[in-house]
């Protein structure tokens, strides 16, 4: 079986050139950085906060903080990785505000029981993208990923949706590389398990398509 191909990102040098121009006060260069990454920041923010208004605020505040603190950006990582770190912190802060009754942290202790051991081992057939129309499919995917604990879904979104490397994800989330790998494995397996319940069901013709609750720990 072949490996997953990573998303290709912009060359670093071109990005850094924009950053240096922005540091010298060239606002058109900063605006170009906004245009380059606003979609990514919005996606990440909405995945974490699960709330559109919060995601809009995160986009604005993350870029504003990046702008105000450009002089402190040491250029030891990509600008995008630094920006993602700011955006993730903003998003988590808003999530905590909305859910004060729950501890929301990327460092939270996650269950150590076998929550990721595969139970559903039937293949998906036909292909889910042929089985459901696009809005049904998006609804299933959205509800399924929302059920993951924030620490898991954030790692999955950065690594697998946005295409950051393991090292960049670790930098952005201030986690160790083994912690990123462990969470990514469990996030992938939990998503697979939950999606299997949908993608096997219709083929088997039983059950309903309801996913209950949100699984934030």
């Amino acid at each position: 079986m072949s490996a997953i191909q990573p998303n290709i990102q912009q060359p670093v040098s071109e990005e850094m050139e924009l950053v240096r121009r922005a540091k010298r006060g060239d606002d058109t260069a900063f605006e170009e950085l906004v245009r380059r990454y606003d979609r990514n920041v919005f996606r990440i923010a909405q995945h974490i906060t699960q709330n559109r208004e919060d995601a809009e605020d995160v986009v604005q505040d993350a870029f504003l903080k990046a702008y105000g603190n450009l002089a402190q950006f040491q250029e030891q990582s990509k600008f995008y990785t630094w920006l993602v770190r700011i955006a993730v912190n903003e998003a988590l802060m808003r999530l905590r505000r909305r859910r004060p009754e729950r501890m929301v942290s990327l460092d939270e202790e996650v269950k150590t029981e076998d929550d990721s051991l595969p139970r559903e081992v039937a293949d998906w057939s036909p292909n889910p993208e042929q089985m459901y129309n696009q809005s049904e499919l998006r609804d299933i995917l959205t509800r399924t990923i929302q059920g993951l604990p924030p620490g898991f879904r954030t790692v999955f979104v950065l690594r697998d949706v946005e295409g950051l490397s393991t090292e960049e994800t670790a930098q952005a989330l201030e986690l160790s590389i083994p912690a990123v790998k462990s969470r990514l494995l469990r996030a992938r397996l939990q998503l697979r398990e939950r999606l299997s319940r949908f993608f096997q069901k219709r083929a088997n013709g039983n059950g309903d398509d309801k996913i209950s609750g949100d699984g934030d720990q």
Partner: protein, 85 residues
């Protein structure tokens, strides 16, 4: 190789970041263990489907409003000094 050992290497396997010998052992396991083959295949499909579907796209009109708001706040901030990250 046991299935649990295969599972612990699954992420490295899918990301293509393993040495040739481990890859050969994993490929060998996949060749005879149907359950692990299905788990590996559907995990790969899970990643691909989330990547392909691009949930939470930023609509053009909202995007335009956000860009305008960001740049106007940046201009205002230039005069009043930076915030802390």
């Amino acid at each position: 190789m046991k299935c649990t050992e295969f599972l612990s290497e699954l992420t490295n396997y899918l990301d293509g970041v393993i040495d040739a010998q481990t890859k050969a052992e994993l490929d060998d396991h996949l060749a005879w263990c149907h359950n692990c083959y299905v788990v590996c295949d559907t995990t790969k499909k899970t990643i691909e489907i989330y990547r392909n579907q691009e949930l939470y796209e930023l609509p053009d009109d909202l995007r335009g409003r956000l860009q305008t708001a960001i740049m106007s706040k940046c201009t205002a901030q230039k005069k009043s000094g930076p915030q802390k990250v």
